[in-house]
Each structure stands twice: as C-alpha cells, then as structure tokens.
C-alpha cells in the first residue's frame, strides 16, 4: 500500500478532529460543544499542524509536494479539475446559506437569582432584614417534631393547591403547565437551588413573584405570581418548610459566630 502523504495525513487529522468534536462528542456522547469552542479547538489543531510541518524545510516541502503536483503536474489533471469545480461550488452554497438565513428573535440574558432587597416585607409591612429573618417555624424541627410535622403538612397542602401545576408533583419544575412557560419554573430537586439560599430569600421570591423582581431580573417573563396577595405569611413559611422537607435539602443558614 502506498504511504499516505503528509498533506493527506494533516487533512485527515483536521477533518477527523472536527467530526469527532461535532458528531462523536456532540452527538454520540451527547455533550454538545458550542460552535465557538469547537472553533477554538480547531484553531489550536491548525497551529499545531503548522508548527509540525514548518519545523524543517524538507518537511515543509514534502507537505507542499502534493499541492504542487495537483496544481501543475499533468498526471493530476483530473484531480485538479474536480477541485477547481468543487471549491467554488462549496463557497457559493456556503455564502448563500449565510445570506439567506432567516433572522431569529433576539435572546435575552437572564439573571436567574437576582439580588434581593435589603429588607424583607410582606404586603408592605417590614418583617426584618433579609440577612436576619429566619423561618419562625423552623425551630420546631428540634423543639417540637409534632408541630413541625403539622406545618410541613400544611405546606404540602398549600403547595398542591397552588404551586404544582408549574413546579410539578415531584417539585422538579416539571408540572403539566411548565413546558409552555419561559423561563421554566424552578426545579427544587436541583441541588443548586435550596442549599444556596436562605429561607428569607425564598420568602421574598414567593411573596413578590415575577413582578417583584428587581430591574436586573430581565426579561420579565416569569409567570411566578405575587403570592402575598393570596397566601398568608404563615402559609408561605410552611410551604418553604415543605420544599426542604420533601427534597431533603436544607436552606442555607448563617450559623452563630464561634
């Protein structure tokens, strides 16, 4: 078998890497890589190839030899003509597809967890500072498990009469209305949600809903209702207990300084 020329090997490496990144990693293993990142990897591979072929004069000449041959050698006439047709056709199609592409609506950046205000309020009455307010029923967990259970059960009721169409029976943000809302309802089973915030933060998000988000909370699409209009303060605290009890995640607390 004839040995592959250096040029062909480089071409195979280049195309092979792209296919690997785009279709094997992105498709078969299904970890899609953004096209900009693929572009960066491909850039690095091209630089590596250029370095490799230009280290020695002779190697560089060997690399260019098939190119030379294709361009001027009469034995390579057919290949030359095929390439002379294929390259312009490819460019024609590629530029056409770019120009004729339909525009897509502008995406909006989104801050999923915007900063809360300094003070926590319920229907305009101040409860306390965001940092200091704790769930008034949380202490029952240690002091009075029976009472705690009653509050969790009440929270379960509140949740299933109000929240589950969107946030789901399993609290995983997959309620039957969820697929048609943007942004998607919060997934409380996600380990990045409950443990990262204090209970006062949840109270704020529940009480004020989508309309209560600060200016940074663009794009203002959240379907989260202003629950302080419909739920009592205690019901909101109970539902927060239920969220952490059901998922097993503890909201963040700031323990006493030692």
């Amino acid at each position: 078998m004839k040995r592959l020329s250096l040029f062909t090997i480089c071409l195979i490496i280049l195309v092979g890497s792209w296919v690997f990144l785009r279709f094997v990693v992105g498709g078969v293993i299904s970890v899609p890589i953004p096209s900009s990142v693929i572009g960066m990897y491909m850039g690095l591979i091209i630089i590596a190839i250029l370095v490799h072929i230009s280290v020695e004069d002779s190697r560089f000449r060997e690399f260019l030899r098939p190119v030379h041959e294709t361009l001027i050698d009469d034995k390579r006439r057919i290949r030359r003509r095929v390439i002379a047709v294929l390259i312009p056709i490819f460019l024609l199609g590629y530029t056409y597809s770019i120009i004729a592409q339909r525009a897509n609506p502008p995406g909006s950046p989104r801050d999923a967890h915007p900063s809360p205000p300094l003070e926590l309020t319920y229907k305009d009455a101040v409860i306390g500072t965001m940092q200091d307010v704790v769930n008034p029923f949380r202490h029952y967990e240690k002091d009075d498990p029976e009472a705690f259970k009653a509050h969790v059960e009440n929270g379960r009721r509140v949740y299933h009469q109000n929240c589950f169409p969107c946030h789901g029976d399993h609290l995983d943000g997959q309620g039957h209305f969820a697929p048609y809302l943007q942004p998607l309802p919060a997934n409380f089973q996600d380990p990045g949600i409950i443990p990262n915030f204090q209970e006062s933060f949840f109270f704020w998000r529940i009480a004020k809903g989508g309309p209560g988000l600060p200016a940074a909370g663009t794009p203002w699409d959240s379907a989260m209702p202003i629950w302080e209009d419909y739920l009592t303060k205690d019901e909101i605290w109970d539902v927060i207990l239920f969220l952490s009890d059901y998922t097993g995640y503890q909201p963040r607390t700031f323990g006493e300084a030692h």
Binding site: H68, L71, I72, R80, I83, A84, I87, P88, I89, L91, L92, G93, T95, Y96, I99, A100, R102, A103, N104, P105, P106, G107, S108, P109, R156, R157, Y159, H160, Q161, N162, F164, P165, C166, G168, D169, H170, D172, Q174, G175, H176, F177, P179, Y180, L181, Q182, G209, G210, P211, A215, T218, P219, W220, D221, A223, P225, D229, Y230, Y246
Partner: protein
Amino acid sequence: MRNRNVVSLLMLVLGMLCVLMLAHAQNAPEASEKGKEVYENSCAHCHGVEGRGDGSAAENLLPKPRDFTRGLYKIRSTESGQLPTDQDLFDIITEGMPGSSMPPWDTALSADDRWEVVAYIKTFYDGFKESETPPRAISLEDKIPYAEESVEIGKGLYVDLGCVECHGNVGRGDGTSAPTLTDEWGFQTWPANLAQGWNYRGGADTEDIFKRFIGGIAGSPMPAFEGDSFLHFGLTAEESKRLSELENKDEMTEAEEEESGKFYEKMDAAVDIALNRAEGMELSAAEQQTYDNAMKVVYEKSWHLANYVKSLTPEKRPESAIGNNVLRSQYVQGALPPMDDAAWETLQSGYFPVVGQVVIEPRQFNPTIDSVNVKSFYNDTEVAFLFTWDDRTQTIGDETDETTGKTLEDALAIQFPVKVPQGPTAPKPYFLWGGRLPVYLWHWKASAPEQVTELTAKGINNAEAQEAQGELQTQSIYKDGQYKLWVKRALKTDDKKDLQLEPGVFVPIAFSAWDGANGDVDTKRVMSSWYAFVLEPVPSSKRFIYPPLIAILSVGFLFGLRAFVQRRNSEEV
C-alpha cells in the same frame, strides 16, 4: 475447562436475570410499607391518603384524580368490566396521562418504587384480592393495518355508531351532548378532542385507540363496544347493513317487517349472552359461539374505526418550544387574502400552546383550550392574521356564571407591547396584560363576531378600550368545534397607543383565550407567555450577488495560484 465454568456461570446469572425480569414485568410485589411510603409522598396529595381521589389538590382539578376504591380504571389492556393488569397500572404511572394533571413518573420514581405503588394502589379495592382468574386481555391479533380503505370504512362507522354525538362531526369533541356529560362520580367530563392525539390519555397508537373501544374507558361516558352499547351487536356486517337499509325506509312491507324482526331477535339474544358473560356466568358452547361471532364483527369494525380516529390527529404535537416557534408573517404583493381564501392553505400554522391562568384569582386550573394556531400575511401597508383554536362549545354570551353572575362567552385576545423593547436587555411588559409597561391588545368576543376592540392594559384587571378605535377588519366563524378569526390592520397607524409594525423587527406576542362553557371569564382563562412575531423581510437580493461573486473570485484565486507555482517552478529549474 475454566473457561467453560465461567461461561456456564454467566449463563446461569443471565438466566436468573431473565427470570427475575419476566416475573417483574408481570406482577407487582406484595403491598409493602415501601409502597405506602412512596404513595403517601408522591400520590396522596391528589388521590388522597385512602385512595378516594380526594387529596388536597383535587378540589382544583378536572378531570378529577382517580378514586381507587371502586376499581374503575380508564386505561386498560383488558376487556370491558375487567380489572387492569399490573402492567397497565405500571404503564400509566410511568407515562402519566397527557392532557390531565397526572404527570409521567418515569424520572421521579425508580421502576421498583413504581411497582411498589402498583401493589399499594391495589389494596384500595378488594376486587383485586378476590378475583381468582387474571383479567381477560383484549386480543390485538387480527389488527387491520392502517390504509385509506380502512379509514374510509371507519369514517362511516364513526357516524353509524353515534361517535358524532359526543366527539362531533370531525372529532373535535364538540358533539351536541358534549357539554352535558358527567362521569361515574358526577363530575363534568369532556369528550376527547380527537384532533389532538397528544392529549389522548392512554396514548395515540392505533392499538391504544382500539383498546379504548373494546375495553371502554371505565368511569367515563365512553362505552365499551359490547352488547347493547354497540350498534347491531350480534349481526354480521351484511345483516347490519341490511337492517340499516330497512330502518331508513319510510314504510316497510310485511315481509320486511318480518325480516327486521328476525334481526332484532338475533340481536337481543346476543346482547343477553354478553350480559350473562359480563356477570361471570358460564356460557354454553352454542352461546359462546354466538358471542364470539358477534365480537368478531365488533373487533373488525373497531380496527377500522381506530384507523379513522388515527387519521384525525397529527402524528406528533406540533413543535412548541418557546423562543423557537416564531410567528413569521409572509410578504405578498397586492391585496391580502380574506378569511376563506385558499392562499392561507399554503402557509404553515404557528402553534402556540396556552396554559391555565393560575396566577390571579379567579384562576383556571383546568383549561379546555390547548393552543392557538396562527398564520399571517402582510403587504406594503397592511397585515392580516388568521387565528384558529379548538373550542368544544360555542358560547355567545347568553349564559351567566352561577356564582359570579357574569356573562360567559368565548373570546380571544392577542397581546403586543405598545412599544417594541429595544435591545436584548430592555424589559418586556409583564406577560399577563402588562404592568408598569403597558400592552396593546386586540380583544375579540363571540357575542360580536365581526368586531375586534383595541385595548390598552397595565395589568390583568386594568384594561381599557382605546378611545380611538382603529380600522381593524374582522371576520370570524365557528364550525365543528373550531373558531377561525381573521383580523387585518394597517402596519402603521396615527394612534400613539397602537403598536407600529415594521418588517424585520421582532415583536413579542402573547394570547389569552376564554371558553365560556368551561366557566372562563375575566382572569379565569387560558393564556400564553410571550412568543415572537415578525414580518418576515423579503429575502435580500444580495443573495444573488455575493455568492456568485465569491465563487468567481475563488476560481480566479486557484488559477492565480497555479500560475504562480508554475512560474516559480520554471525559475527554480
């Protein structure tokens, strides 16, 4: 030698695994503490701790969560009056019931947990323990494959068997008796909209549909095709055809009277046998034969009917990812097509699902409208829209809500911002009829079908009709369970409260819809979050200039390169 040991060990393990899997696939384990725990944690909030379908969520829901204490299960692979198999129960838990609030539990619960729940659910109804024989499965053996011919036969049966009465002429669930139906428990229930296969509770494969015919949908008004709930039960296809002919005659001769009398006798006998069988009586060989013959006809007709029903719905729910489905208005030269113009057929519909408004009281937890479908054309001065949506009942403002006294009627509202947000970080108005930022609305009501009112709103309860009503042309029609609304407006108006349209600019668009017969009024409605609308620009003529230019340049480059290499080569030599 060692190799063989390894192989036989492997075989043994594999064999055991197979046996275990088979055992698992057929029967749920004995009810256990684990099943109770999973049930109480994941199911009880709807189905109730004691399985009565009275959990805390139930009061807001319709269809109601199933009451397990009566052993009535809608989705079964078993014959009429039979209990479901364990696999049936497992499948429903796994896949959920589309179109209702029963979600699929495939990711939230492990397969083991789901089997435990199956076992636990069965404890709510003693019939499971008492039944000694396994439930009789519906045979799928003689399936008639999907074909135009079969669909045609099915179409005839759809009328003959009386499906039209509930499911309507073309299957949108808009039959005359649709608004009057209740289930075993007395709750209102709507016949399925057969044009929306993605909402069939038990799946939309032909086999699924067929099983619903033969087994019925227990607890609902949908009958099983057996006995007197099936037209001409006991007659062959030919006999049935003949009897229909006779029945359609204004007057029968004596001979014909006699002939039809014989048919009735035959039918009565078959119906009696079916009743006896359903009650568990032993059938004699002759009776069994009569029954089998009757059911053979039922099975055959049911396959044809299943094929017809299958033909009524698209294969899949239309693509509906928010952000991806954009309403693109197509440019045309000259006048825009009116509502019934064939030009609309050339456009693909934008599919915009809606959900119940559960934000502001009064709320709608049980929507009956699935989606709004929209097409649009524009020209140099105007834009026209064609909105279609399925609604089982036409309510035109002659009914009032019993509790609020408000007038109930069907309606649609199309929502735009007054000003298009500039740039990706500019906020849109609140999706529920605006807030700090106002929205511009077109409000159509079934009581004034040729009129669209322009509204400005700063909140769902804060909408006002504009003083200066623009010249919106409107046409609408209600037919076979579907509304069509056609609206035309100028791209630009003089009114500052109106949205101004320009080709190529993406405009947020959202919908609200009201089904009067479902109690929708004011905030109780279905609605969507923001989608995008654009007057699709006429494709740039640049697409015919640049690509050829680049192709020609590349040819020139290749030639130049060749000439360059040739020259250098000859110099080197």
